[in-house]
């Protein structure tokens, strides 16, 4: 009570600082926004069908990024480490599923065990078991990495852990590129199920018959998009539930808020951190399988750029925030697909990072990030 009255009586309120030349920046931003709107609007009016097609491919990309971004945002939120190896865990997920499908034919095991089973059911159960197996491998890998490489460095300077992360990333990429492990080449990925595609035109949704082209004014999409979308949204809901409702989620939030205090409250911090890595890796593995299914070509270095984009997406949405990662990933996917389609393919990274810089300048903690005080 006392301090409040004192400050009121002295009346030393800071005058609201109005920065000079602010209008220049606003005009500049408006100009950039106008150019972007012009490009988007012009293409939307000239070719709405192509535009919609790009949006759909952007959605597919964005939902995969969202799966990877979750791991980044959770790990960064808790240990403040840019886990560069996360993109390679994604790669391992894709490769694991490749070997499961190609070498072990795991995707048809229900048919082998129960010969009378319905074909659709076989594919569904087979694919799900491939995905779960790949996720398990990724979890094991990530927990090992965390124990071996990051845990001993928890009290060291942050850069040490970061360099280690880069080292682990290099190791996974090049160890995978050895001929007896995976291979340095691009491998065609065999999908565990058939692709079905549909097209939408003014008269409704139609099935595309194999060998026939859809009409000119139609937008096509495939079951892969639907699978990726549904999975990504389910994962999102699951994580929200995990973080908000379960004991582990509360512990995770506590650790990310204040590690020493969380330890004093009887939380096993090491266990929580390992669990976070495991969850992130599981979804990265899931993302890896879906990415391989969608783009059907895998390589040991495939995880680098998607990993980086996903991290950018996490930063864009506000790092540490799960819905933020989701929204950021969707924005990144759209930005990439639309740039590829409307401007030029090589500029997609440039546009992605430019968006990041602009968003961070306007909202330094990202779209969903809570404002933080750097130094109290």
């Amino acid at each position: 009570m006392q301090p409040a009255t004192v400050s009121q009586s002295t009346g030393t309120e800071f005058r609201k600082h109005n920065p000079p030349l602010k209008w220049v920046g606003q005009v500049f931003l408006a100009a950039v926004a106008l150019v972007a709107i012009y490009i988007l609007g012009r293409n939307l009016i000239l070719g709405p069908r192509i535009f919609a097609q790009f949006v759909i491919s952007g959605l597919q990309l964005g939902f995969v990024y969202a799966l990877i971004a979750l791991g980044y945002t959770m790990v960064y939120g808790i240990v403040k480490l840019i886990n560069f190896a996360h993109g390679d865990v994604f790669m391992v997920g894709a490769f694991t599923s490749y070997y499961l499908v190609e070498r072990f034919s795991l995707h048809v095991w229900p048919a082998a065990v129960f010969p009378t089973m319905n074909d659709t059911l076989v594919v569904v159960i087979g694919t799900i078991s491939v995905i779960i197996f790949a996720m398990l491998i990724c979890v094991l890998l990530a927990v090992t990495i965390e124990r071996v490489a990051y845990k001993p460095l928890r009290d060291a300077p942050r850069i040490a852990a970061l360099i280690t992360a880069i080292g682990v990333s290099f190791f996974l990429e090049y160890y995978g590129a050895l001929n007896f492990v995976y291979t340095p080449r691009f491998i065609p990925f065999m999908r565990p199920f058939e692709v079905a595609a549909w097209y939408i035109d003014p008269s409704g949704i139609h099935n595309i018959v194999q060998g026939t082209a859809p009409p000119d004014n139609a937008v096509t999409f495939s079951n892969i998009l639907i699978i990726i979308m549904i999975t990504s949204i389910l994962v999102q809901i699951f994580l929200q539930f995990l973080v908000r409702r379960t004991k582990m989620g509360i512990a995770m939030r506590a650790v990310s808020f204040d590690k020493p205090t969380a330890r004093l409250m009887g939380i096993n911090v090491d266990q929580v951190i390992s669990f976070t890595f495991a969850i992130g890796a599981a979804f990265a593995g899931l993302g890896g399988v879906l990415y391989a299914i969608a783009y059907s070509s895998i390589n040991t270095q495939m995880g680098i750029l998607p990993g980086l984009k996903a991290f950018v997406a996490a930063v864009l949405g506000g790092i540490g925030s799960i819905p933020g990662a989701f929204v950021g990933a969707l924005i990144m996917g759209q930005a990439e697909a639309l740039t590829m389609g409307l401007i030029s393919t090589p500029m997609r990274d440039a546009v992605a990072f430019t968006i990041l810089i602009f968003v961070l300048l306007i909202r330094p903690t990202g779209i969903f990030g809570e404002p933080e005080n750097e130094k109290a």
């Binding site: 600082h17 920065p19 000079p20 030349l21 602010k22 209008w23 220049v24 920046g25 606003q26 005009v27 500049f28 931003l29 960064y76 403040k80 840019i82 071996v148 490489a149 001993p152 460095l153 060291a156 300077p157 850069i159 040490a160 852990a161 360099i163 280690t164 880069i166 080292g167 682990v168 990333s169 290099f170 190791f171 990429e173 090049y174 160890y175 590129a177 050895l178 001929n179 340095p184 680098i304 980086l308 991290f311 950018v312 930063v315 030029s344 090589p346 500029m347 990274d349 440039a350 992605a352 990072f353 990041l356 810089i357 961070l360 300048l361 330094p364 750097e374 130094k375």
Partner: protein, 453 residues
């Protein structure tokens, strides 16, 4: 056989470290003539190794001399990064991009010059000088207003640099016809493409390329440095990726058909002799040391240690960060120019963002905030990697490059686990030590008193 390579690499690294220790000791000697003789001797030792032929081979074979040149340019890049990250605490992953910009800009100038086109040098030179003046002028003008928003400042700088670019290209197109006849063509070199002229053009190209990289870093730094540390790292990493993308598409998106996009730029005149590499390296070392041990350097250090306290002491945080970033990129640009003219071939693959982590790894290995550590680590790191490759080649054949990158991360991991502060910590050798100012010298000066007391 493998053991021979291994022992050989270790001996080489030891010799190089002894050489660097000697060089730094000589540079830091008090008597000026010892300095000059010593520097000349340090230069001559390697030069003799490169030229003296014994039994049909030079003392230092092509492989080792190549590593020396690479290490010299890497030293500049890593020193620049150490200024940005080690001394100023800004986690930058953009150093490799500036290195690439310097390399491509310098290479383009001399390439065009030898192909009868003087516009490269004129545009880059005018752009670098005029651009620097304009950027500084805008900076001076903006500093009259307090607290100009980042976005507004950036808009001014951007418009200024675009205008400068237009003017520079205009001047280049206007002046070129009068110089071009003197250049001849590639088949028949004109008077200006031979001997000393070429050396001058090379020198200017490298310096201007460095300044150009510094100006780009200024433009990038204005918006990006105001982000937090990790965000800054990601944004600069993005910059490296964007630069690399532009290199891959330099003949389609950018109007530089001679850079040949993803196929790589060939036919760059190999003008970097050991003299130039040594000259630029020592120049960068001297500039770096003098910055660090000056009041500017202490300002830079104070920003790393505690921004709030530094601000309370009246230090302009934003400008200090920008200064360190720009100088660091200048070094990277110069290193790039030296590298391009040694290797004679530039491929965008070299400037991919994955090797872009190398300067950061070198700086952390050498010890953050240790100039000696950075210099020693640059040399040791390159010799270590290549020595390892030789050892592995005899063992694994064509898989060796991959095996190298399997073992190399393990080495990184072990080093980080065992010695997270870096190899040399804060040790400095000879020249790079903080100058010892004796107490007597300070107190013997008459204390200036303000009038009116």
């Amino acid at each position: 056989m493998e053991l021979g390579f291994l022992v050989g690499s270790i001996v080489k690294i030891g010799a190089i470290l002894a050489y660097l220790y000697g060089l730094l000791w000589v540079l830091g000697h008090k008597k000026w003539w010892v300095k000059i003789v010593g520097i000349a001797a340090a230069f001559t030792v390697i030069q003799l190794g490169l030229t003296v032929v014994i039994g049909g081979n030079t003392l230092l074979n092509d492989f080792d001399s190549g590593l020396l040149f690479q290490a010299a340019s890497m030293t500049m890049v890593a020193l620049g990064l150490n200024l940005i990250y080690g001394f100023n605490g800004q986690f930058s992953l953009g150093q490799w991009g500036f290195y690439g910009i310097g390399a491509y800009a310098a290479a383009d100038v001399t390439f065009r010059w030898t192909h009868g086109d003087s516009r490269g040098l004129i545009v880059l030179g005018v752009g670098a000088i005029l651009g620097g003046l304009v950027l500084l002028g805008i900076n001076k003008w903006l500093s009259r207003y307090r607290g100009v928003p980042v976005m507004s400042a950036f808009a001014f700088y951007l418009v200024g640099s675009i205008l400068v670019g237009i003017v520079a290209v205009g001047i280049g197109n206007a002046v070129d016809p009068s110089i071009a006849p003197l250049l001849g063509s590639q088949a028949e070199p004109g008077p200006l493409t031979q001997g000393a002229w070429m050396q001058i053009v090379y020198f200017l190209a490298v310096i201007f390329a460095g300044v150009f990289a510094a100006e780009i870093s200024f433009l990038l730094g204005i918006p990006v440095l105001s982000l937090g540390s990790d965000y800054f790292g990601i944004a600069t990493l993005g910059f490296t990726i964007v630069v690399n993308t532009l290199m891959v598409n330099s003949d389609t998106i950018l109007p530089f058909p001679e850079m040949k996009g993803g196929r790589g730029m060939i036919g760059i005149p190999k003008l970097t002799t050991w003299f130039w590499a040594f000259f630029f390296m020592v120049l960068v070392i001297i500039i770096m040391r003098n910055i660090i041990h000056s009041s500017t350097g202490r300002t830079i250090l104070s920003v790393r240690e505690d921004e709030t306290a530094a601000k309370a002491m009246g230090i302009d945080i934003a400008n200090t960060k920008l200064l360190a970033f720009v100088i660091g990129s200048l070094f990277a640009g110069i290193g790039g120019g030296v590298y391009a003219h040694y290797i004679g071939f530039l491929s965008p693959k070299t400037f991919d963002f994955l090797p872009g982590f190398n300067p950061m790894i070198i700086v952390v290995f050498g010890g953050l905030g240790s100039m000696t550590g950075t210099i020693a680590a640059s040399f040791a790191w390159i010799f270590f990697l290549e020595g390892m490759l030789r050892v592995l080649l005899s063992q694994f054949g064509t898989d060796a490059p991959t095996w190298r990158f399997v073992l190399y991360p393990i080495a990184i991991l072990l080093l980080m686990l065992l010695k997270p502060q870096g190899l040399l910590g804060k040790v400095e050798w000879g020249f790079l030590k903080a100058p010892i100012v004796k107490a007597r010298e300070i107190f013997s000066k008459p204390v200036e008193t303000t009038s009116g007391q």
